[in-house]
């Protein structure tokens, strides 16, 4: 079902009346008695006072203009929009986790530390790394962190001439952006005919200036890089490091591990593979894993288990270790997006080792099933066994009808689906990147295929409908040019007028 068309919701700032706000905390004094006048804010602050009911209706109405996984199929490639189990939120909301202050002494925070330690161990095993840091807040920050680790590693070896990062042309945009933040020069590597990195091109690209090669496997076309071991060897032979972008890790679990492919560093988006809700764009969580030779450089603090080796028992104690002289430092105010560590660990324990392998296998099955069905009516440029996602192209359809990937995407919104990722990866024109995830039923996939098929059919008979889509959503296509040319980024109080 598409979201219903709806009327505009007034801004919070256009609602309420002064003095109407709910008194959650009793007012017992005036600020004037506590602060020198010149330090005090005058009456310039004019936030709206709404009744609780006004506020509830406002956000309930806004929610009704939002599409989430809980409402329907969300085949957004590279984003792994799978079901977010509610038990994970319940676990994260347990008072012992929710209300724990980050400066609580270690011996009074043993549960939280154990969660972090167990997650770190689980991820290390699952991905073949020596250790993980739970410090970074999202995938992009994790990439940045990993590149800082690489930089510190080379500096520590006295290896000063490594200035470039190699990135395939199918890479996520964050890869080159992260490399630039660390001061590395970015070399883009052209993919070969079959959509994979070409070992010959890699051989030409590497040299004594190569610091890191950033890759994802499967790549953003959803294809497994079959020659990854060879590629890793080429990079290692010149002294470079291999970095694994874990955005596509949902295709790997229990099947293969970045560590076994030859990667030295990696990150995970636990908000993709490990079911943390995306929340409309965060908060994310981006653990960084490294091989043994890089462990010393991981951010601080790390959680350390004290006591006997062996199986986890509650007899062990845990502490935060800040004494890490080679560490790159830290990339956040406090240790980790801990609530997300709880969610990720709950998901791992719910599934177990065999369950996680099944998750990846079924993600691959769902993607291939869609690929085969969709290839019946839309071009699939790399029509071979894919992993958890694949790309289709509307290039031929556009030539024939004028209907572009964007128009198909908007048509899907009208039909009650989230659109696939479009115009990415950049190497496929009129690209639609489809990632169904393993949590969708065959019935859902079949219905999606039929909807997309009917859109392609109607592109040929009545393309206008698609050019004007969506019509059945809260708003229609938005004037993005106007938004960019005349930026209106906030409400302005009427009395002060112009900014």
């Amino acid at each position: 079902m598409p979201l219903p068309s709806s009327t505009a919701t007034p801004l919070l700032f256009e609602q309420g009346q002064p003095g109407r706000a709910t008194p959650y905390v009793a007012a017992t004094a005036s600020a004037r008695s506590f602060l020198p006048r010149e330090m005090m804010r005058g009456d310039d602050l004019e936030l709206p006072d709404l009744s609780e009911l006004e506020m509830v209706r406002h956000f309930t109405r806004l929610s009704q203009k939002n599409f989430g996984i809980d409402l329907g199929f969300y085949p957004l490639g590279s984003c792994t929009m799978k079901h977010n189990p509610k038990v994970n939120d319940a676990a994260a909301a347990l008072p012992g986790f929710r209300d724990l202050h980050p400066f609580t002494p270690d011996h009074l925070a043993q549960g939280a530390l154990q969660v972090m330690w167990e997650l770190e161990r689980a991820l290390s095993s699952l991905f073949g790394m020596a250790a993980f840091s739970l410090n970074p807040s999202a995938g992009a920050q994790a990439e940045f962190t990993a590149l800082l680790i690489a930089k510190a590693y080379f500096k520590n070896r006295g290896d000063a001439g490594r200035t470039t990062v190699i990135v395939p042309d199918t890479a996520h945009g964050t890869n080159p952006a992260s490399a630039a933040m660390v001061g590395y020069k970015v070399v883009s590597l052209k993919s070969k005919e079959n959509g994979r990195v070409d070992p010959e091109e890699m051989r030409k690209a590497v040299g004594s200036d190569t610091a890191v090669c950033m890759m994802t496997n499967p790549n953003t076309l959803g294809l497994f890089e079959d020659e990854i071991a060879t590629i890793a060897k080429i990079v290692h032979d010149v002294g470079g490091l291999m970095y694994y972008d874990g955005a596509n890790a949902n295709a790997l679990m229990g099947i293969t591990r970045p560590g076994d492919m030859g990667f030295d560093l990696m990150h995970l988006n636990t908000h993709k593979t490990f079911t943390i809700p995306h929340g409309g764009g965060g908060a994310g969580h981006g653990p960084v894993g490294v091989a043994a030779h890089l462990v010393d450089f991981l951010p601080s603090p790390m959680v350390v288990r004290d006591g006997p080796e062996g199986r986890t028992t509650d007899a062990h104690t845990f502490h935060l270790d800040f004494d890490r002289p080679r560490s790159i430092g830290s990339v956040r105010s406090f240790w980790s997006n801990f609530a997300h560590a709880v969610r990720a660990l709950a998901y791992i324990y719910a599934n177990g080792a065999d369950g996680l392998r099944k998750v990846s296998q079924l993600a691959i099955l769902n993607a291939n099933y869609l690929r085969v069905k969709i290839a019946e009516f839309l071009t699939v440029p790399y029509n071979e066994i894919c992993r958890h996602e694949f790309v289709a192209s509307a290039q031929d359809l556009k030539r024939e009808t004028g209907v572009r990937a964007l128009d198909l995407a908007k048509g899907l919104l009208d039909s009650g689906y989230m659109a696939p990722t479009i115009y990415f990866p950049l190497i496929v024109p009129e690209c639609l990147m489809v990632e169904p995830t393993e949590t969708e039923t065959k019935e859902t996939l079949d219905a999606f295929v039929e909807t997309l098929r009917s859109l392609v059919v109607s592109a040929k008979s009545e393309p206008e409908t698609l050019f004007n889509a969506p019509q059945h959503t809260p708003v229609g296509r938005i004037d993005e040019t106007r938004a960019a040319r005349h930026p209106d980024l906030r409400w302005i109080p009427a009395q002060t007028g112009a900014r």
Binding site: D44, I69, A229, G329, F334, Q361, G476, I478
Partner: protein
């Protein structure tokens, strides 16, 4: 778990795909195939899973203590209405609002958040959020380096130590130089030292926090503001306790070109450090240097008001290595919580809660200063945190309080050797008379204990 496939589904789908088994379909080259047994437990049923986590959460015994710990993360009241609304799946299970037509809820909420941040800081524009207070400060430093072409960052020693660690970590990537502005014995930035440090250097930004890490209001005077401007540097104003903005002069008032900070106080749970939500605001002239998402107001094809992510030419998915930042996923859901919090408490409530923090922290100060052997380290006006000098080592006093079921604050000696006998204590609207009485009584027993040891 959470996979809906029946055996029959799998068979039918494998037939369509043309693979004999799931294992065969998912096969990778032997050279890289998994060869070890994963060190993970077997699947756990939900009922047992939740029991396991209840057991772990119960080991976090610290939550049951009387709390005087702040230092950048604060115990505040969270109205239940927030949880009821924020957990709606439409908000919680949506992705970044790229498809604006079906993301108007997220987008309007971001626009409202941007407005709140502008109103609170007094600046012109704000972004959709940054990871947290520390990274907001680091991103602001990058902005300043890009805006000025300078590479030196002058950072007050009274800025949160964790924030300074993060800034240093980011600066290592940028080859920027960080220099410290010392703090005075009075617990504020040594503004006298600023002028001479500004003179010699290619300063990109001066970074100050107010209320600073010691809890004190710490803002540059007119002359310092002028000196920063004259040096061609930007002033970055950090606010680690966003609630203070309800009663203290906003960063724009004291000359900040960029205001950044932490909004965890606005309805976001402590959760042992995250996720929280960083905010970031600046003046119009730096609009195109802002990192991260921006929601803008526009119209749809029918002329109806509609919101959309805008000015994306700054961002990594368009500009790749030329982007203003690599930030992609940010803190949307925490920013939504903060927006809901501000909408719920309103102007009246926010001022009342901030005032209650002023009142309770002064009640705390008086109670502590009345215990023989204890005194306030500073005279400067503060918001809800204060530094207390104790007899002996801070760690010993904190341990003694702990034995009485009290988390008395943070040992400042951890970062500042000259404060090895000092505790940073915090009181908020959640602090009760009973908490302060219990603290006071426990402190009275401390000198005797310390002497005995």
């Amino acid at each position: 778990m959470y996979t809906p496939h029946t055996a029959r589904d799998i068979d039918e789908m494998l037939t369509v795909v043309g693979a004999p088994t799931l294992g065969e379909l998912a096969r990778v080259p032997d050279a890289v195939a998994l060869k070890v047994r994963l060190d993970l437990p077997q699947a756990t049923a939900e009922i047992d899973l939740l029991r396991r986590f209840e057991h772990l959460a119960a080991r976090d015994t610290g939550v049951a203590y009387r709390q005087f710990v702040g230092a950048g993360a604060y115990h505040h009241y969270v109205p239940p209405v927030l949880g009821a609304l924020a957990m709606r799946g439409e908000f919680l299970t949506a992705y970044t609002p790229y498809q604006a037509e079906v993301s108007q809820g997220s987008l309007q909420a971001i626009y409202e958040w941007q407005t709140y941040v502008c109103l609170l800081t007094g600046l012109d524009i704000a972004n959709a959020s940054v990871y947290d207070g520390a990274t907001a400060m680091a991103e602001a430093a990058i902005m300043a380096i890009n805006a000025t072409g300078h590479r030196t960052l002058l950072v007050s020693r009274a800025v949160h130590p964790n924030y300074r660690v993060v800034l240093k970590t980011y600066a290592d990537g940028l080859d920027a130089v960080i220099e410290e502005i010392p703090d005075t014995a009075g617990g504020i930035t040594d503004w006298q030292q600023l002028a001479e440090r500004l003179a010699a250097k290619d300063v990109a930004a001066v970074v100050v926090q107010s209320p600073n890490f010691f809890g004190n209001v710490d803002t540059p005077d007119e002359a310092s503001q002028q000196a920063i401007k004259a040096a061609g540097a930007l002033l970055i104003g950090v606010v680690a306790e966003a609630l203070s903005l309800a009663v203290l002069q906003p960063p724009a008032h004291w000359g900040a070109d960029i205001a950044v900070g932490e909004a965890q106080s606005f309805g976001v749970s402590l959760a042992y450090g995250g996720p929280y939500v960083g905010f970031m605001a600046t003046t119009k002239e730096h609009l195109r240097r802002l990192p991260g998402r921006l929601a803008g107001k526009s119209v749809d094809a029918q002329g109806r008001t509609a919101y959309v992510l805008t000015l994306q030419a700054r961002e990594q998915h368009i500009r790749r290595e030329k982007a203003t930042s690599n930030i992609c996923t940010n803190q949307a859901h925490c920013a939504l919580l903060a927006t809901m919090y501000l909408a719920a408490v309103g102007n009246t409530g926010l001022r009342a809660i901030a005032t209650e923090n002023l009142r309770r922290s002064r009640q705390l100060a008086t109670a502590v200063a009345n215990v023989p052997g204890f005194r306030l380290a500073h005279q400067a006006p503060f918001f809800n945190e204060l530094v207390v000098r104790v007899p002996g080592r801070a760690g010993d006093v904190l341990a003694a309080l702990e034995a009485k079921g009290i988390l008395g604050g943070v040992d400042l000696g951890r970062w500042y050797p000259e404060y090895a006998d000092a505790i940073l204590m915090t009181a908020t609207e959640l602090t009760t008379d009973a908490d302060i009485d219990a603290l006071s009584a426990a402190l009275k027993e401390v000198p005797a204990r310390a002497a005995a040891v």
